[in-house]
Every structure is written in structure tokens, then in C-alpha cells.
């Protein structure tokens, strides 16, 4: 990962090695949701290079911090997805035997 910014910290390009659309597109989403971001986008310069460039331009805050916050937000979302998923699976497991019983008794 590199940090390609010139004097102005509010605009920068971040280059991530060994990442692809998976992370870049989710980060783009997360960045776009931040009101401090005036522009963001990503590109994969060459398909056989495992590298992705993420461009972040902000309304004034350092791009690096904004990107960090976007990652943090994305991480929090993931954690929430994981907990609610686990809960739903547990719920489903708890309800399943009862469902099967009722269908058995009906037959």
C-alpha cells in the first residue's frame, strides 16, 4: 500500500496491492456515504496486476483520515452483519425442530 499525495493532504490516491473490487468497491461505497468526501473512485490499472488505486478528495479533511474512517465504518457494518446473521441462524435452529414437530403432528 502506498500513499500518493502531493502537498495538499485533502486529495490523495491510495494504492492497495493484492486487493480488488471486493475491497475497493465496498470502500468506495463507504467513502461516498461520508459527507466530507467530495470525490472518490477506484480503478484497477491493469487486470493482471493485483493492484487497485483508490482516489479520495475531500472538502478539507486529510484524505488519509477520511479513508481510515470509511474503513472503520465498513468494519462496524461487517461486525453488525455478522452478529445479526448469527442471531438469525440461531433463531432458525431453535424454531426448526418445533416446525418439524407441528408438521409431523398434522400428518
Amino acid at each position: 500500500m502506498e500513499h500518493g499525495s502531493i502537498k495538499d493532504p485533502s486529495r490523495a490516491t491510495f494504492s492497495f496491492v493484492d486487493e480488488d473490487h471486493t475491497l475497493a468497491n465496498s470502500l468506495r461505497y463507504s467513502l461516498n456515504q461520508d459527507a466530507r468526501v467530495s470525490y472518490c473512485g477506484y480503478s484497477i490499472p491493469h487486470p493482471s496486476d493485483a493492484r487497485v488505486n483508490i482516489r479520495v478528495q475531500t472538502t478539507g479533511d486529510p484524505a488519509r483520515e477520511v479513508l481510515k474512517d470509511a474503513c472503520q465504518n465498513l468494519k462496524l457494518m461487517c461486525q453488525h452483519v455478522r452478529t445479526s446473521f448469527d442471531e438469525s441462524v440461531a433463531d432458525f435452529r431453535n424454531n426448526e425442530p418445533s416446525k418439524m414437530e407441528t408438521s409431523d403432528s398434522e400428518n
Partner: protein
């Protein structure tokens, strides 16, 4: 800067006046005469030495508050400017005899008008092509009408839902509601190509007189899913020696005797060698101690996870080759940990996919013969007929989830107007087909964890 300096001078003057009043015996003229100079001096000192630091700190804290309330402020400031605009226009209103567009009764404040909400949350499947397929991600996309489009994490937490529809050993179907396609797609991509599993990578063939060529046989072996929890293993990198932590060894020795009919070789005949390779490595020096192709320090079946759950292929009846009389295969297969993006054999899923929830809306009442026709049109029986009493019939949408979007029901001009085929953009019907190494619900949690790790890596890198 000048402004702040002046403020301080004036403050200093006031202070001195108060001081003079409290001490009437002090010569007022001297105080008054001195104070401007003294005040200015004090102010300069204060401004140069003390103030800058204080100022920076206070600015910082203000920035933080602004950050925290940015979205609220933005929306409120927007609506504020809108209001001021509308006030201007209202003043002109008597002249033009129409007031601001913002005063019209059907313009909701702080939320999108219904048609925009619909375009934002639904894909419209028209007869020729779908429209409004994009997701509006930019937080300020609707700023001009005073609507904040950013997603607050609390709001996400409140609205996100998972509903399990089906869950068994290999397949799982669940609804994921209230999440953007970017993230749902990230989970899908990770499931297919970044959740690690164990698969046969190296095959040492001692003898193969079957019709299947060595390389084809090796490829077939590689694709066999192996029921071993990949989380208990490490990656084998180029310079590592294969050991009990990164390699699983299987042996296959099958023979078709002369005079016997042809036989098939099944995956169940792969035999797990918990102690590692049994093939001796040939070394240049004949006196060297004979070593094998792996160097296991202990037997893998001493690991509690494997001692009563031996490692084997997940399915017993996968045909590997067929042997004619007199043919023989003798080989050893080494399985290592890997990811689907290197080779599909490491992919833990047959596939993982999602579709957006279909929504079928009847824009007008469809009754009588038309209702019958509509019901007949749909091959998956999405529509039902409702009896409205005295022989009248009306079509209803009974099973929108079953809709395959074949567009049969919107064929013909009149039908296109009557039926809307929509897809809910933030409702994903997610299906995971595991190949059997890990149960599908575990695969999904692993995938989410991988995305979290990626985020954490970026955070660490930037800190």
C-alpha cells in the same frame, strides 16, 4: 488576526476601567493615560504567545463537532437556504400569483418525494430493458432538495435484517435486507474466491497404468473436496517444508486383477496418512538417512479435532478413474491450504449468489377475463384470482418471490401499463452452496470476517 487583536485590546481597556473604579484612590488620569499602551502591550503578548495554541485547540474541537454533525448540518443548512429562497419568492408571490415550488402541498420536507424514493430503491424491469439500475451512493446526491443521503451506522444497525429461509448441511438461503449491493457483492466475491479450504495440490505418482493420464488424474484429485477444517491449518509457502500443520497426505493404491471385470476407482479409496508421506525421497548421497516427502513431527490424528473425525473426502462416490484388468494406480496426494482465486479447487462453495427481491405491482385493477389471462400468462404462478362477490374476479399478486422476471406478463402494450415489475435494491436473497468442507453458515461468517480483516489491514497501514 487583526480582528482578534482588536477584541483583546478592547477587553483590556474594559478590565482597566473596572480596576480603576474598584480602586478610587488610584489616580484616574494615570490609569486612563496608561491603560491603552499597557493594554495593547498585554494584548500583543497574549496574542503572540498564548492565543495561537489555544486557538488551534479550540478550532480542532470545533472541527470534530462539525464532523460529527456534518450530515445533520448539511441537511439543515440546505433546508435553511431553501427556506430563505422560498421566503424571497413568497414576497414576490402576490405578483406572480404562484408561490415557491417548496410550498406545494405534495413536496415533503426532509424526505424524498415518492417517485424519487421509488427510483432510488427499486429497479424497474421494463419490456425492453431495466431502468434505474444504479445505486445512489453519494451522500450529497439529494442535497439540493434538503435530503441527506448518507447512511448513518446507527440507522444501518436499526434497519439491517437477516432472515434465514433454508439451512441444511450444504445449502443455505437467507434474506439480507437493508444493505448496499457493494457490500453484499463483496461477501459473495469473498465466499467464492477468498475463503480458504484444503485441496490436493501435489500428486506423487508411483505407478499409473490406467487409461487416465497422470496430469488428468492429478487434476481430478485436486477437485475433490476434503472435509478438513482449513482454520486448523497454515498456508504452505514456497520455502516451507511440508509438515503436519500445513499438509494432509492421502494414499491411493488400487489394482484391477487380471481376469476380473473393469472397475471404478472412487474417492473413498483415498486413504488418509496421518503420519505423512510414506514415499522415501531419493537423495544424491546414498549414505544419507532416508527421508520422506514430508516431515511430520507428530501424527495428525493426535489432534483432538481429527482423532474421532478422520480426514477424508466429503463425498465417497466420486469416480476418479476406471481400471481395466491388470491396470494399477499407486500414488500419494498432498493437500494444502489455498484460496479460490488461485484455483477453483480451493473455492469452498459450488457457488454463492444473490438475487434482488422481485416486486410485482398491479398499477390498476385487473378484473374479469383479463384477470384470468394474467394468471394464465405467468409460468410460475405469481398471480392469484380473488373473488370479489357476485361473480366478479380480480387479479392479485400472491407469490412475487417466485417471479423469474421472464417478462411474459408485461408483453403487449396494455399489459406493460398495468403491471410493474420491480426489484428491491436493498433486499438480497442470498444462496450459498457449500462443497461440504464447512457448513454454509460458517462460510458466511468467515467471509464477513475476511472483509473485516481487510478493513483492519488498511486502518493499520494508514495509522
Amino acid at each position: 488576526m487583526v480582528h482578534t487583536g482588536f477584541n483583546i485590546i478592547i477587553k483590556a481597556l474594559f478590565l482597566f476601567r473596572a480596576f480603576a473604579r474598584q480602586n478610587p484612590d488610584l489616580n484616574p488620569s494615570s490609569v486612563v493615560g496608561f491603560s491603552p499602551f499597557l493594554g495593547a502591550l498585554l494584548a500583543t503578548i497574549h496574542y503572540c504567545l498564548v492565543a495561537p495554541k489555544f486557538r488551534r485547540e479550540s478550532n480542532d474541537s470545533i472541527d470534530q463537532i462539525q464532523e460529527a454533525t456534518m450530515s445533520e448540518e448539511e441537511s439543515s443548512s440546505n433546508s435553511g437556504s431553501d427556506e430563505s429562497m422560498s421566503e424571497d419568492e413568497r414576497r414576490e408571490a402576490p405578483k406572480n400569483d404562484f408561490s415557491s415550488i417548496w410550498d406545494l402541498p405534495d413536496v415533503p420536507k426532509g424526505q424524498l418525494p415518492p417517485h424519487l424514493t421509488r427510483q432510488k430503491t427499486r429497479v424497474f424491469c421494463k419490456a425492453d430493458a431495466p431502468t434505474h439500475t444504479d445505486n445512489v451512493q453519494y451522500s450529497g446526491a439529494y442535497a439540493s432538495i434538503g435530503v441527506d443521503n448518507s447512511l448513518q451506522i446507527d440507522f444501518f444497525r436499526k434497519n439491517f435484517r437477516v432472515e434465514v429461509i433454508k439451512l441444511d448441511k450444504d445449502v443455505m438461503e437467507f434474506d439480507m435486507i437493508g444493505i448496499d449491493a457493494a457490500i453484499a457483492n463483496a461477501f459473495r466475491r469473498i465466499l467464492i474466491s477468498e475463503v480458504p479450504t484444503m485441496a490436493i495440490e501435489k500428486v506423487l505418482i508411483a505407478n499409473n497404468t490406467s487409461l487416465v493420464q497422470d496430469e488428468v488424474l492429478a487434476h481430478r484429485l485436486g477437485l475433490i473436496p476434503i472435509s478438513a477444517d482449513p482454520r486448523l491449518f497454515e498456508y504452505l509457502s514456497a520455502n516451507d517444508t511440508p509438515n503436519e500443520k500445513n499438509t494432509i497426505v492421502f494414499k491411493l493404491h488400487v489394482h484391477c486383477k487380471r481376469g476380473e471385470p473393469r472397475r471404478s476407482v472412487y474417492s473413498e479409496e483415498l486413504q488418509w496418512l496421518p503420519n505423512g508421506s510414506g514415499f522415501a525421497k531419493e537423495s544424491e548421497r546414498s549414505d544419507a538417512k532416508s527421508s520422506t516427502y514430508t516431515s511430520f513431527n507428530c501424527s495428525q490424528d493426535s489432534v483432538p479435532e481429527f482423532s474421532n473425525n478422520p480426514i477424508r473426502p466429503t463425498d465417497d462416490k466420486i469416480i476418479l478413474a476406471k481400471l481395466g484388468p491388470g491396470q494399477e494406480i499407486e500414488l500419494e496426494a498432498h493437500a494444502v491450504k489455498g484460496m479460490g482465486k488461485a484455483h477453483a479447487k480451493w473455492s469452498p462453495v459450488g457457488t454463492a449468489w444473490y438475487r434482488m427481491l422481485p416486486e410485482v405491482v398491479l398499477e390498476e385493477n385487473v378484473v374479469g377475463e383479463d384477470a384470468e389471462e394474467l394468471k394464465r400468462k405467468c409460468p410460475v404462478n405469481v398471480f392469484d384470482i380473488e373473488d370479489m362477490g357476485n361473480g366478479k374476479k380480480r387479479a392479485t399478486v400472491a407469490r412475487p418471490r417466485a417471479c423469474t422476471l421472464c417478462r411474459e406478463c408485461i408483453r403487449g402494450e396494455k399489459w406493460e401499463k398495468r403491471v410493474s415489475l420491480l426489484r428491491v435494491k436493498d433486499h438480497f436473497i442470498f444462496t450459498i452452496e457449500s462443497t461440504g468442507q464447512l457448513p454454509p453458515e460458517v462460510l458466511f461468517t468467515e467471509a464477513v470476517k475476511i472483509l473485516e480483516d481487510k478493513c483492519q489491514r488498511v486502518i493499520d497501514e494508514l495509522s
